[in-house]
Amino acid sequence: MELKNLSIRQLNNLFVDKKAKPSELYSDIFDASASSESLLHAHLSLFEEKNLENAKKSDKRFEKGESTGLLDGIPIAIKDNINIKGELTTCSSKMLSNYRSPYNATVIEKLNNENALYTGKTNLDEFAMGSSTENSAFGLTKNPWNTEYVPGGSSGGSAASVSARSSIGALGSDTGGSIRQPAAFCGLVGFKPTYGTVSRYGLIAFASSLDQIGPITKNVDDARIIYNAISGHDALDATSIDNNQTNIPFDKSAKIGVIKELMEDGISDDSRNEVSKVLENLKKQGYQIKEVSLPLIKLSISIYYLIAPAECSANLARFDGVRYGLRVEGKTSYEMMQNTRAEGFGDEVKRRILLGTYALSAGYYDEYYGKALRARKKMIDEFSNIFNDVDYLISPTTPTAAFKAGEKTSNPLEMYMSDLCTIPANLAGLPAISIPTGLSKEKLPLGVQIMSKPLTDLSLLNFSEIIEKEVDFNTSPEGLEK
């Protein structure tokens, strides 16, 4: 079997036993991207040479028996809204096309400590706003399972990279489903951790109260390994929390709830069938399953599209041409700022800035943003109550499998609906994972989402691993073989 198809633990065993070297894996990975990049455009930049050197340093550590752990020598792809010192961090925006970060994000510092390697920076929807990676100023990314289809978004480049074996794992960011949805569309595991357990320092903010960094991988164990490496309290992020995990049962004493509202209208038969298949499987193993109702989930898209744009309207105000990034001159400073922002931002980003500015305006705040905050609070309470009854909540990850490129670009509202199942976990700060379970009629992957209460991330991963084992999904994309 080729190295690039193996799990992190399998690779580490080979390295430790001196049956393979990190540099061999690295070449393997780069051969894969050499053949797939022109087709998929998963990466915006590739770090080939610099990291080959680092791979050789890993070789030496394994030779001497001085490796630093499971991620030593493992090539990871980084979404291009996470800062790596000295490298371009573009957010797929014309605004930052020339921007190199002078500092590392905390997650990068942590991966550096593990001696992980980087394949490069991956494509995304501009400033992580979108569900298809079509909103990139540098061209779209395609789905490795079928290149006519989108890989999902906004971490579409990260998902496509792992799927095409151009990296062993990837970091994405998830504000309303941006890790889980592309993972589902590309037949991978996507994990959004409990809000606050992974530092946001160095992640270019979209919506600060919702953003969370997490892994996209071929299997649950890989996600766990990366999560363990990147999580933990960070003094540089005031919203960071101590990762004091609570253990909840994941064997058959665990109680499972299936969310009624996410098995109804707007969900395709294909997506529903995947959930049913998993539930049957769990039932067979002896798990207790019951239907639960979270009525406010139906409002989550409305709540999200007030809160996220409001936060983004302020977060993106710093891009003004004054200190870094694009500058388009004007007669006065204000004209320069206006020209820069008019030219630097794409349509979707502008749409959300306008939406958020409006929602926060004098006279509208209470009716829009204020109301959304109150509704969010109520939704959190609803989740808290449900978690007194059940340990895990199951739903589809997405209402449908991947759609064709261009299919939804002219209808933003329809595009927003594709995040129906994933947004609630962001609003409530819950850990949520998507695991691949099967294929649609069009032979495109589908995922099932599992959520649990805050700070039960490790139990959630353990439980997901049980499902993963039962469904035994083959994550190798068929599209690339053709």
Binding site: N83, S101, Y201, S208, A314, A317, R318, Y324, T332, M337
Partner: protein, 481 residues
């Protein structure tokens, strides 16, 4: 018709913390631009704010010292507006949950205690500094230089209720607030460095009206003098407009120091909607009971308390107010000298007049280490007992400030002890009378004033050691007047 002005003051105080409000960059006092910066305070993408605990402590301290109610559950808000020296294009500030609310500050106005009601005390971060070339205004500048050293320095904003009635009262309020911030050791309190910056909201209305007139905000007052002049100007401008039946427009006006007038600022921020919302990067701030109690228990002496202590020695309010604003060592010196001499007025005059005057002449910030309360008490005591003259006291003080030498040694060396032996003085007096026949005759003819001349002669002949009072008394007696 009688009109009354109403004034509210917003003051920004730059705190003297070591580091900035939301990052760990040092607060620097330098003209060299852009040397204390990090991703957070210049708004690089991905950087996040982490609050400075010391700044929160200082703001709580000021809130408690002004008798404010502390909001235990505080919150940071984003105030959104675009300006090139505001790196994030929003300022982290506080909106509906400030640290302190509803307090008051005792001030001294025309020798009387007054109280100014405080509406709120809240914290925010400072902006960078813009230098516009050409006209000095952003919309017409050909280029703008930006210095972000100041960006993110912690500020506390104190807002009074609209209760101030005159420019003089406004000045007294700022003087008191400045002293308070120095005594609390939360700011350098230097106006010339912009440690304290103030804006005034001014309106006029008929004296018998319960409603306030349309308020006008005045900016760009950089000294107490310009505060006073700007307010006076604005009150007369509005009064005239009101009496002429003109509408007073709610606006922001710019004080022009050179032209001594306020003019309308048609700047873009003028009518801005700041779209305040709670900053999602900063979780709610909970001030614990213990944190507040701790600060309360360690409050230093407030200016009003210092004034009361000084007045208890006998000083009047005016004297207590002046001495109260002095450096701590001066106030301590006063209390020590007063304790040994029990002379409040003399001690006050010696310290605020002679001592500080001579130190200024000698270019001294602090007296030498050998100078102590005992030295000054000794000088004051000798004068009181008529052993030396007031003038000799000044001489001794001057010398003791420059040389480590005892008061007695100086007095002896310069023969400053006064002659109190009556026989000796009578002899001197007789000699002078004998030598001044002409003058004595004129005195007898009624030119009383010339007695002073003879007193002078006696003192001169004694080498300055005769007490003038005694000389005059004996002269009068000898001349049989």
């Amino acid at each position: 018709m009688n009109l009354k002005p109403t004034i509210g003051i917003e003051t920004h105080i730059e705190l003297n913390t070591n580091t900035k409000m939301f990052c760990r960059c040092k607060v620097v006092d330098t003209d060299e631009p852009n040397i204390s910066l990090c991703p957070t305070c210049i708004g690089l993408p991905g950087a996040l704010p982490v609050p400075n605990g010391k700044a929160i402590e200082y703001i709580t301290l000021l809130s408690l010292a002004t008798g404010c109610t502390i909001t235990r559950k505080g919150m940071f808000h984003r105030k959104n507006y675009f300006y090139p020296d505001l790196p994030k294009n929003y300022q982290i500030s506080q909106f509906d949950l400030p640290v302190g609310e509803s307090g008051e500050l005792e001030i001294i106005l025309d020798g009387k205690k007054e109280s100014v009601e405080i509406e709120r005390v809240h914290m925010e971060e400072d902006t960078g500094k813009s230098t516009h070339s050409g006209t000095g205004r952003i919309d017409s500048a050909t280029s703008t230089a930006l210095d972000f050293n100041r960006s993110g320095v912690p500020l506390v904003e104190i807002v009074t209720k609209p209760v101030i009635q005159s420019a003089k009262e406004a000045v007294a309020y700022i003087e008191e607030l400045r002293q308070l911030s120095i005594d609390l050791n939360i700011s350098e309190g230097k106006l010339e460095k912009g440690n304290l910056r103030f804006d005034a909201n001014i309106s006029v209305a008929p004296s018998d009206s319960n409603e306030l007139g349309t308020k006008v905000e005045i900016k760009n007052m950089n000294s107490l003098k310009s505060l006073e002049r700007a307010i006076d100007f604005e009150i007369s401008r509005q009064t005239k407009a009101f009496l002429d039946g003109e509408e007073i427009i709610q606006e922001t006006r710019h004080w022009d120091e050179a032209k001594e007038l306020t003019s309308s600022m048609r700047s873009k921020e003028g009518s801005a909607d700041y779209r305040y919302f709670s900053d999602p990067d900063l979780p709610n701030m909970i001030l614990s009971e213990m944190f507040i109690e701790d600060i309360k228990n360690n409050l230093p002496k407030l200016p009003s308390e210092k004034r009361n202590d000084l007045m208890n020695t006998g000083l009047d309010l005016q004297q207590a107010n002046i001495l109260g604003k002095s450096d701590t060592w001066i106030i301590e010196l006063y209390f020590k000298v007063f304790d040994s001499t029990k002379e409040y007025s003399t001690t006050y005059n010696w310290i605020t007049g002679e001592l500080q005057g001579q130190m200024r002449k000698l270019d001294m910030n602090f007296p030498p280490e050998w100078f102590s309360a005992e030295v000054l008490s000794e000088i004051i005591g000798l004068i009181k007992e008529n052993k030396i003259s007031f003038t000799s006291g000044k001489t001794i003080l001057s010398e003791v400030l420059q040389k480590n030498i005892s008061v007695d040694e100086i007095a002896s060396n310069h023969d400053l002890y006064q002659e109190n032996n009556e026989e000796k003085i009578v002899e001197l007096v007789k000699n002078v009378i004998n030598d001044s026949e002409d003058v004595v005759r004129r005195i007898k003819e009624g030119e009383d004033k010339l007695v002073g001349f003879l007193v002078g002669q006696v003192i001169k002949n004694s080498g300055g050691s005769v007490n003038p009072g005694i000389a005059k008394e004996l002269l009068t007696k000898e001349l049989d007047l």
